[in-house]
């Protein structure tokens, strides 16, 4: 039996097995209607768990609603919450903390991630093993990472202080990574870099491996130096991938909560209180639902706007 005749017989059997009424009904639907039929469950789900809450949050952001006062009247406040948030120095402080965290983590992860990808791409002996080892941190749960780095940073028993003072001398208990205002913001940056550099490396590695060998061979023929090849071939061709990694890490770290919450809880004082921690405190500890909805919308617009601008830039780079 040929392949074509086998397919025909399967189709015949399916046609026979389909009840005539159903078949007729399906036949009478247009392609567009069938498409809608298939995507409507997904759309319903999206509307229920994404779109409706978004519009509900927008509505709440203009009201005095507090989730812990279900019986209190809801008063329409207009843009009062937005005005208060944008003129609140504590909110601006948490934005600065977030900006510091996002900038330094993304910058360091990009440089290190690309460097690691470049090394791994050399395909040296044992590179597969080292790739797996490097990837381990990103496979862990942020909750686990937060907890064990808390122990690593412990001034009396933690490895970090011992390692530093092993090289510099002095008393390991003389400084506290999580308890000092000057060090705590860098402590959380370091943990994020440790955990997520492998992720950036993975994306960059995909970019590096997508560059065809013949381009390097042509450059060799033209006697282009390694340095020139790196700047004229490797970097421009891997750039869309690097930018993608920056986008992913930027968005992720803008809304960073779990790891920072476990490591410092936003402290000491409010030194590491990122926007997400402020949002959680206002929403679920102070129960200022209307106010926190406005803050959530502002954060959403900020991330969405910045991501859009960035994606446009990314597309432009890709088109070059």
């Amino acid at each position: 039996m040929t392949e074509t005749s086998a397919k025909a017989s399967i189709a015949d059997r399916v046609a026979e097995a389909t009840p005539p009424t159903v078949a007729r009904r399906v036949r009478s639907l247009s392609d567009r209607a069938i498409a809608w039929l298939f995507i409507s469950p997904t759309i319903a789900l999206l509307l229920a768990i994404n779109i409706f809450p978004l519009f509900w949050t927008i509505y709440l952001s203009f009201t005095s609603y507090k989730a812990n006062r279900p019986n209190a009247p809801i008063v329409w406040l207009g843009t009062t919450h937005y005005e208060n948030i944008l003129s609140d120095p504590d909110i601006w402080h948490s934005m600065q903390v977030t900006a510091h965290f996002v900038f330094w983590t993304v910058a360091i992860e990009t440089v290190l991630g690309f460097a690691l990808a470049y090394l791994i791409d050399r395909r040296f002996r044992g590179h597969a093993f080292w790739t797996t080892v490097i990837l381990i941190p990103m496979m862990l749960s942020p909750a686990v990472v937060g907890n064990f780095w808390k122990f690593i940073y412990q001034p009396q028993i933690g490895l970090f202080n011992y390692a530093i003072t092993f090289f510099t001398g002095g008393d390991p208990a003389a400084f506290q990574m999580l308890g000092e205002v000057s060090l705590a913001p860098w402590a959380i940056v370091l943990v994020d870099v440790w955990m997520w550099t492998p992720y950036v490396m993975l994306i960059c590695l995909a970019g590096l491996r997508s560059i065809p060998d013949y381009i390097y061979e042509a450059a060799e023929v033209d006697r282009a130096s390694r340095w020139r090849q790196f700047w004229s071939i490797t970097v421009p061709m891997a750039l869309p991938f690097i930018m993608l990694a920056v986008l992913f890490r930027g968005i992720e770290n803008f809304k960073m909560f779990d790891m920072v919450n476990l490591l410092t809880g936003g402290g000491p004082g409010s030194t590491t209180e990122t926007a997400s921690i402020t949002l959680k405190r206002e929403a679920f500890e102070s129960w200022k639902t209307g106010y926190s909805s406005a803050l959530a919308i502002i954060l959403f617009v900020a991330v969405f706007g910045l991501a859009n601008i960035y994606v446009k830039a990314l597309n432009r780079v890709k088109q070059r």
Partner: protein, 443 residues
């Protein structure tokens, strides 16, 4: 044939008996009790087995770690969830839970069952049951008495060489401190000292930022230094009461204690971390709620004769301690109201209260606490009673969560992050609290 009849009769009887017991169990139903996950909760599980044996009610328990206890259960209450039939809610929740109708008002039930609040320590009735405060409106039965107190390394304090050195340095005998000045001196004395080849530190105090830790710690000093939450003659008037010169001095002392005399890395310490510091032999003294004392007493390394207990020391303006603990309330939306109320009725029994204390809970019943057996029952019994006599509590207003968050921020910023002055921190706190009460329409 007779045998067959006897067998049939037996089977029928057995079926009837089992049907009756099934009916009884379903009538008694089941109850879910919500609380924090800690040692007293385990004691309550043990205790509640007697209730199940007596009534046939199946008891289920929902225990949540302290760090997420408030988040979890306030969320449950606010969302109208039906997880809990009974709850041991924190003392500060009483205002919100009463005003929002989450808890059942128990006055009629108490009257009907002959339960008198006079049978409980007055401080626990005020702290755990009453809303508005000072009015005879009861929303909970005092269930678990708790208060912030201190433990110290008795074995270190009793070492002759340390006693001699201490006396020479400070001019008084090394012993449990009666005032905060004395506590400070002892903490300084032990800070960084080598004991048995190990570096030890003065004291472990609450510094936690995320939930309520630093507030539950600093208030012990602030009360002693004269902090009042409001003008006694003008409710919600806080200017000059929360940020009085005494309050500033108290806050400065807490910061001094944190900076001088706590172990390295103690910037985010609450109950768990504090007890760990003491159990691991790091500190000479440790601040914690009294519920930790039975466990510490049993500890192989630092318990028994090695540990001593003392109430929160006095300050220049008085002698107070921060109230902890919880009352037990019935949820208004429970499907098993009769069962929940019968649990309260059972729990209040004297024998049950005595057993509660034996198992590791802290009863609030006067008959239990003032009995000679209790006073002789453990080395910490007297300290517990002395501490319960001097308690004060944080705001229990419906807006307590906002008030607490503001205090956590202002105090942590000053004490741990070393930002601004004590006066600025307290002035800002008054400003924050004023805004909260203004938004509540109380100012």
């Amino acid at each position: 044939m007779k045998k067959l009849l006897a067998l049939a009769t037996g089977l029928t009887a057995a079926a009837l008996v089992s049907a009756a017991s099934v009916e009884k169990a379903s009538a008694a139903g089941e109850l879910t009790l919500c609380w924090a996950a800690w040692d007293p909760a385990n004691a309550l599980v043990e205790l509640s087995k007697d209730f199940t044996a007596e009534t046939g009610t199946t008891m289920k328990f929902e225990f949540v770690p302290w760090t997420s206890y408030a988040d979890r259960f306030l969320n449950e209450l606010n969302s109208g969830g039906k997880l809990c039939d009974l709850i041991l809610g924190d003392s500060q929740w009483i205002g919100g839970s009463a005003e929002n109708g989450y808890y059942v008002k128990l006055n009629d039930f108490f009257e009907k069952e002959g339960i008198s609040m006079d049978d409980f320590l007055p401080a626990t009735v005020l702290g755990y049951s009453e809303w508005p405060k000072g009015s005879p409106n009861y929303w909970a039965l005092p269930a678990m008495g708790d208060v912030v107190g201190w433990t110290y390394r008795k074995d270190w304090f009793e070492r002759p060489e340390l006693q001699k050195e201490f006396k020479e340095k400070y001019g008084w005998d090394l012993g449990p401190p009666a005032t905060y000045d004395q506590l400070m001196q002892i903490a300084e004395f032990f800070q960084g000292r080598e004991i048995d080849g190990k570096t030890v530190y003065g004291a472990s105090i609450y510094t936690e930022r995320g939930s309520e830790g630093i507030t539950m710690g600093v208030t012990n000093v602030l009360y002693d230094y004269g902090v009042e939450y409001q003008n006694p003659d003008k409710p919600y008037d806080m200017q000059g009461f929360v940020n009085s010169p005494g309050a500033v001095a108290g806050l400065e002392l807490y910061k001094k204690l944190y900076q001088c005399c706590t172990p390295p890395g103690a910037s985010n310490v609450y109950m768990g971390e504090s007890i760990d510091a003491f159990k691991s032999g790091q500190v000479a003294m440790h601040m914690n709620f009294a519920f930790t004392w039975p466990g510490l007493y049993k500890d192989e390394n630092v318990g028994g004769d090695k540990v001593g207990y003392f109430p929160n020391p006095a300050g220049p303006a008085g002698h107070f301690a921060q109230l902890g603990g919880q009352g037990i309330s019935v949820l208004a939306n429970t499907d098993n109201m009769d069962g929940a109320l019968s649990y309260i009725k059972w729990f209040v029994g004297l024998d049950v209260q005595k057993k509660w204390m034996e198992l590791g809970g802290f009863s609030c019943a006067i008959a239990v606490l003032e009995s000679p057996e209790f006073q002789a029952s453990s080395p910490y019994a007297k300290t517990f009673l002395d501490s319960m006599a001097i308690v004060k509590d944080f705001w229990a207003e419906p807006a307590y969560a906002e008030l607490l968050q503001a205090m956590q921020k202002r105090v942590h910023d000053y004490v741990v992050a070393d930002q601004g002055t004590a006066q600025e921190a307290l002035d800002e706190l008054v400003q924050d609290w004023t805004e909260v009460f203004e938004s509540e329409g109380k100012l």
